[in-house]
């Protein structure tokens, strides 16, 4: 089972001590579905409250990282009386195997759901010539 990680968002400060960005929100791991088909893998992640400007997908050294920020809700003049969820940021990483063609990964975000398509690379067969001594 995956580890349940809830960590506070980062605080970034510049050299002069001026705070550039401080986020005091919980960071959640979004729920995902991963399945495999003939041409590759498909990862679908639930990111409610996230639009395409607030999501970041990056790949480094076989690790695919998904980061997103949910937008704040406007509740001026109202008092919170009942809460079942908290608005927060999302982060989750996946380790890819060599089968994935990293250059052709596609990402689509719709209705708060991110769909990543990871095509499999065609296996490269290198013929090795044998020289006769």
């Amino acid at each position: 089972m995956f580890a349940s990680l809830t960590k506070k968002g980062e605080t970034q400060k510049t050299e002069g001590g001026v705070q550039k960005e401080q986020r005091n929100r919980p960071v959640y791991q979004p729920a995902v579905d991963i399945y495999e088909n003939e041409s590759g893998y498909v990862i679908t992640a639930d990111l409610p409250g996230v639009d395409e400007k607030s999501v970041d997908v990056s790949l480094e050294n076989h690790i695919l990282t998904l980061k997103a920020k949910a937008s704040e809700v406007v509740t001026e003049g109202y008092k919170l009386v009942y809460a079942e969820y908290r608005v927060g940021d999302y982060e989750r990483s996946f380790k890819l195997n060599d089968q994935v063609n990293k250059a052709d990964i596609q990402a689509v975000l719709k209705n708060g759901v991110l769909k990543l398509v990871l095509p499999k690379a065609k296996p490269e067969v290198t013929k090795i010539p044998i020289k006769l001594q």
């Binding site: 809700v73 009386v81 209705n111």
Partner: protein, 164 residues
Amino acid sequence: MRLSAISHDNRMAMEESMIRINRFNGLDNFLQEMDTFQRQLEGLFSSSGNATAGAYPPVNIYQNDDGLLVYARVPGLHAENIELTVTDDLLTIAGNVQDDSAQASDATGYLRNERSSGQFQRTIRLPYVISADKVEAIVKDGILRLVLPRAESDKPRKIAVKTN
């Protein structure tokens, strides 16, 4: 009539009716508290930010004297698949999450299946009666936002006291 003189059957009937009255006041709140407590306990073990075994969709409710704001988390839900009903002080959110990944016809294997899909229905009792014809509902990025204005008939009215 002394208690010891009551027959066994009569006493059972009396005790039963007493329990029923208590339930309306004390026990009802207790059950509600246990429910909240259990949901919080389940929430501790969930990593995605909402109680996994709780009601779907999870909601946050904001209130003032003139109306309510209800936010519901419904990732992947299209506007045409949501059914909203308001009757007096009851709000019902129903719908169908169509999940293209869980039902992918060409899938050869599933590595993870954490998301939910399918039919759902949830009814919430609100603190006052709502003007059903003035309700606004918007769904964006998987968050449903409802504005529920309070019915004029349910607003408190000041009553002037006359002296005779």
